[in-house]
Symmetry: C2
Subunit: 172 residues, 2 copies
DNA sequence: GATGTTCAATTGACAAGACAACACGGCAAA
DNA sequence: TTTGCCGTGTTGTCTTGTCAATTGAACATC
């Protein structure tokens, strides 16, 4: 467990000159700090995805994720989707409302409790999903240009590990 | 250049059963698709960072990035920060306004053009930066628990490569 | 049978960031 | 000199996601 001190802080820091106080100051390196690169990369990816999906298909990045979710787990509830996608349940609720207004999704209420809903893609929603999936795969291939197969496996493994470590943090 | 077809789509897809139409449908795998893992990881990281920084220091994730930026490039302009952090210049402008209201930053106008400003951290801002930096490094160490030094270098390299590929996309 | 607890879902208030429009000074070309 | 363009910065508006409060049903306990 206690590998936390294995890396010296200097690994992630730069030492900068030119401040008005005449002193040198340390701060995070952009290029050597994984969390910085991670957030930059993800922000830019989400933003450019959102632009593409919105322009060509009229739905946002969030709604696209929801379509994927509903293919993966047909009949899932809003709460389940919230946990799986890691997004607030309020946002999920609104996303489903948007998608329903476009007739892309449908729901079935449980007999036992009218308010609990199981969500499915409509025929139209499935068709849209399949269409966007092609675009998403094409973009993904562009993003992975220059990656070896081993790189991809490493990348996935490291992202997963990073995420798992985050889950640990929130427990404490 | 044309390595784009080197990976079969199946590498990133799952094949799901249990749809109302009785058919099987393919969609993105969460665990094997880098862009999915990337956005999940980054969203969760940013969110939990924002909570920590806001709760303990009263500033958001965006404002923290701005503090780092001003240590890296003392005297930089809003436009420069926008390009470097990859965030809309409007958001930068508001962030600087918030930070100024808290006396964390100061500016100097150019003699030539009153409206053009060079931004610096105030003494108070630098102190806050140094304080938060400790927390950021501690969190980073937690996130990198289980990473080897080679893993970190790979992670940085792959994130950088992914980002560079995105830049290429937007040119076309 | 009454009461309290838990959980799904919705909704309103709010914050952050994207996008677009605009203001304004500098600068270059006519 | 004037005209038009460019680079900066500010601001309004919209979307999206978070947080918190609320509703309403099921279930458990007394």
């Amino acid at each position: 467990m206690d590998q936390k001190t294995q890396f010296p802080d200097s690994m992630f820091l730069v030492d900068v000159d030119g401040h008005p106080d005449g002193q040198r100051h340390k701060t995070l390196s952009f290029s050597r700090t994984p969390s910085v690169l991670l957030t930059f990369a993800a922000n830019r990816f989400t933003r450019s995805s959102a632009r593409v999906y919105m322009k060509d298909y009229g739905i946002g990045a969030m709604d696209w994720r929801m379509l994927v979710m509903l293919v993966r787990e047909p009949g899932c509830s809003a709460a389940r989707a919230s946990a799986a996608i890691g997004i607030d349940k309020g946002a999920i609720s609104r996303s489903l409302a948007r998608l329903e207004a476009k007739n892309l999704v449908e729901y079935e209420s449980l007999e036992s409790d009218e308010r609990r809903k199981k969500w499915f893609l409509s025929k139209k929603g499935m068709a849209l999903h399949d269409e966007i999936l092609e675009v998403a795969l094409a973009r993904l291939r562009v993003m992975l240009d220059g990656f070896s197969e081993q790189d991809i496996q490493d990348f996935n493994r490291l992202l997963q590990l990073f995420m798992d470590n985050m889950a640990k943090e929130s427990l404490s």
